[in-house]
């Protein structure tokens, strides 16, 4: 029997490969497209050179005071460099900054560990540590209970505060929102209605109103004479706010778990909590991961709102720096650009991770 041998592939026609047909296809496929392409090129040509000049070529890089910004036509990066410690660490004492770094490294290490460690260690070490982290961080940063020098929360600030506050809120919000989501799915009418009210309240009210509630109403709720730390109140508010959103994310995750999983768990004779924690929860977290990350990005961006109630996170540190009497040269563009770039890098990389997880989970055959 003769073996079937296909003929070698014909090369693609010459007018469809190479750079010229590509340009024709992508940039000049129709008269309107050609005009748009030329207009965009003209726009770039007029905007980009002066921008690059302002950003890098004529920019002032070295020095420590405003006087070092001699070139009027360039950005004054000296401003950002001189204030960079404040931007990242707030007014935390310089010799104690290792404590902030320790907390940040711990946060990163635990996140990596919970993905990389073998399952046994993960369940026994990484997850409990993850849930304990906010409290450990507070011990380290405050320092008075573990024999370090006490640093009042008035001095905490900068970008590290944005990161730690967002992380601490989402970590505590995890179990809380999971309970709320469970409550919303519950058969018990009273539990269900309480959960719905909680979730819808924290989702429906502007987060700023919640912050104001935290700062003007919460003190009224505590017994007379109790003085609750400002940062602690903010943490409570952010956690509850985040829980409302996450509960809805989890609800979506619950709905996506096939009913057969519940029935299989029931038929094995597992109790409610065994079923929920061992069978359902892992699947819910896996399904909701992209949305959890998206919610976290929102929370992270919203930590800048703390400026309004006078907490020195990164943006309000920038505002303070801009009104400092030694730096009244109108450096707002530089300052805002720097903060924007820092936030952008963090949020963009998180949304990249989220969409890569989404693509991994997506098994539909689109296009």
């Amino acid at each position: 029997m003769k073996e079937f041998k296909p003929l070698p592939d014909q090369p693609a026609p010459n007018d469809t490969i190479g750079p010229i047909p590509w340009i024709k296809e992508n940039l000049f496929s129709s008269p309107a497209n050609s005009i748009a392409t030329l207009a965009i090129f003209a726009f770039f040509a007029t905007v980009i050179p002066p921008l690059l000049d302002w950003l890098f070529i004529s920019a002032n890089w070295s020095g420590t005071t405003q006087a070092a910004c001699t070139n009027e036509n360039g950005a004054c990066w000296v401003f950002v460099i001189a204030w960079s410690k404040q931007f990242f660490y707030g007014s935390y004492p310089i010799e104690e900054i290792w404590r902030i770094n320790l907390c940040l490294i711990g946060l990163i290490a635990i996140i990596i560990a919970s993905f990389k460690l073998p399952k046994d260690l993960r369940n026994k070490i990484a997850i409990p540590l993850f849930l304990m982290l906010p409290f450990i961080s507070i011990l380290i940063l405050s320092g008075s209970w573990i024999g370090l020098e006490y640093v009042s929360t008035d001095y905490w600030g900068g970008f590290s505060l944005n990161v730690l506050l967002a992380a601490a809120s989402i970590i505590v919000a995890f179990p809380l929102s999971f309970l709320w989501a469970l409550g919303r799915r519950s058969d018990m009418p009273f539990v269900k209605s309480v959960s719905i009210i909680l979730i819808e309240f924290f989702r429906g009210v502007p987060v700023l109103a919640l912050f104001f509630m935290g700062s003007v109403m919460l003190p009224l709720f505590f017994p007379e004479g109790t003085n609750v730390d400002k940062l602690l109140r903010v943490w409570i508010v952010l956690t509850l706010f985040m829980s409302g959103y996450m509960a809805e994310v989890f609800r979506g995750g619950f709905q996506a778990v096939p009913k057969g999983q519940y029935e299989a768990a029931d038929s094995l004779g597992l109790g409610f909590w065994q079923k929920t924690l061992l069978i359902i929860l892992p699947q819910v977290i896996k399904i909701s991961m992209p949305n959890i990350l998206a919610t976290f990005v929102m929370l992270f961006k919203n930590t800048t709102f703390l400026l309004i109630i006078g907490i020195f996170e990164m943006l309000s540190t920038t505002q303070t720096a801009l009104t400092n009497s030694n730096w009244l040269g109108g450096h707002s563009t530089e300052g805002y650009l720097f903060v924007a770039v820092v936030f952008w890098i963090c949020c963009f990389s998180m949304s990249m991770i989220s969409s890569s997880i989404e693509r991994k989970l997506d098994t539909s055959h689109r296009n």
């Binding site: 992508n26 539990v191 961006k301 707002s332 949304s351």
Partner: protein
């Protein structure tokens, strides 16, 4: 084979799911009751200690502070109740501007993502990814302190045809002042809108019955502009232009858009527009490619494919997302307080709360307002959603 007598196995009291759920709910009820009892008694004690009188009487006392911008007549002699209305109207104003503009920007950028031109595609992606990932408050500050504050002073203002002026104090453009007889024109506009509504219904019915198409869009445009125009001519043009004029150091007359409003509306538009663009992109992507191919194979033009086949199907994904974006826009408009735009939050929770100290009443009222606004948005969008939803066979 003899049947075994059935063993009646009743679970013990605590293992009965019904008893269990009752006990759990009772526990929750007791816990919540104790919690609220604690809060209420603490609050009452605290308020007594601070000498705060609860109640809504403060709404009828004189406010005594000025508000930067008001859509209704207001000065310092009006009551706190009126500051609430002024703030509420300003909130609604900026939210409406934001919702309309961000929808336009979002749809343009979302559709641009599917352009045949590579540069346009990349620009749309760059827009979405840049502005979605930068905190909104930062963007507001950028527009307010870096861009608008750098505009020229009133005497050197930028102008278009001596009618529209832009300077550091705001944007000025001519306003219309109605004179007697304007009622006819307003009536004509209302009649035009009603006419278009009935025309569309009639045209749709005719197309369903006979298959004949009617140029609804052109006819609607004709009615919308024609009727008021005729009314204008009939009533002898009962409007006069009110041009802004430089008097002393500032402009008088015309319509003024204060920089706070401009910065807030710009930032909300750009930020929410990026999210809406992303929603539109996701919606269009969710339409299976086969739909486009099928449309092409029955000979529809490229422009008609987008309008008749892809967008209506994409709307099923887009509308629920739009709903939540609009709601977050309204909630985000509270950031006005950071730059001093007098929205409900700045005026009421800011100044009024500071002056009266009625924390609970004011925060409660404000939250209720945002709830109501968001509920109404949700209601409208759900109605809209029902009209775009997949019509399945009954």
């Amino acid at each position: 084979m003899s049947e075994k007598p059935q063993v009646k196995s009743s679970p013990s009291f605590f293992n009965n799911p019904r008893n269990r759920s009752l006990i759990y709910q009772l526990l929750l009820l007791v816990g919540l009751a104790y919690f609220f009892y604690g809060i209420v008694s603490n609050t009452l004690a605290n308020m007594e200690a601070r000498g705060i009188k609860s109640g809504y009487d403060f709404l009828f006392t004189t406010a005594g502070f000025d508000i930067l911008m008001s859509l209704i007549p207001y000065d310092a002699t009006h009551t706190y109740g009126r500051t609430f209305v002024v703030g509420l109207l300003n909130t609604i104003l900026v939210s409406t501007i934001g919702i309309i503009l961000s929808t336009i920007v979002g749809f343009i950028m979302g559709v641009a993502h599917f352009s045949h031109n590579l540069l346009i595609r990349k620009l749309a992606v760059a827009y979405i990814e840049t502005f979605r990932n930068i905190p909104l408050l930062l963007q507001i500050f950028f527009w307010y302190f870096a861009v608008l504050a750098a505009l020229p002073s009133a005497r050197q203002s930028m102008s278009i045809g001596e009618a529209i002026f832009l300077n550091v104090r705001g944007l000025y453009f001519p306003g219309l002042i109605a004179e007697s007889g304007a009622g006819i024109v307003y009536g004509a506009i209302a009649a035009a809108i009603a006419g278009i509504f009935f025309l569309r219904r009639w045209a749709k019915k005719r197309q369903n019955d006979t298959g004949q198409q009617f140029p609804v869009f052109t006819a609607s445009l004709g009615i919308l502009f024609g009727l008021p125009l005729i009314a204008l001519l009939v009533s002898g043009i009962p409007f006069v232009w009110d041009f802004p004029e430089l008097k002393g150091f500032n402009f008088r007359g015309g319509v003024t858009v204060i920089p706070e409003l401009m910065a807030l509306a710009l930032a909300l538009t750009v930020y929410t527009g990026a999210f809406i663009a992303e929603a539109v992109r996701a919606g269009i992507q969710a339409v299976p490619h086969g739909q486009t191919e099928a449309a092409r194979s029955i000979g529809l033009k490229e422009s008609k494919i987008m309008k008749l086949i892809v967008v209506p199907q994409a709307m099923r994904v887009i509308v629920p997302l739009l709903n939540s974006e609009y709601q977050s826009l309204v909630k985000n408009s509270t950031l006005a307080t950071a730059i001093g735009y007098p929205d409900l939050f700045t005026v009421f929770v800011g100044t009024t709360l500071n002056q009266t100290g009625q924390a609970i009443e004011i925060v409660f009222m404000t939250m209720a307002v945002y709830f109501v606004i968001n509920m109404s948005i949700s209601f409208v969008m759900n109605r809209f959603n029902a009209s775009v939803e997949l019509a399945e066979r009954n």
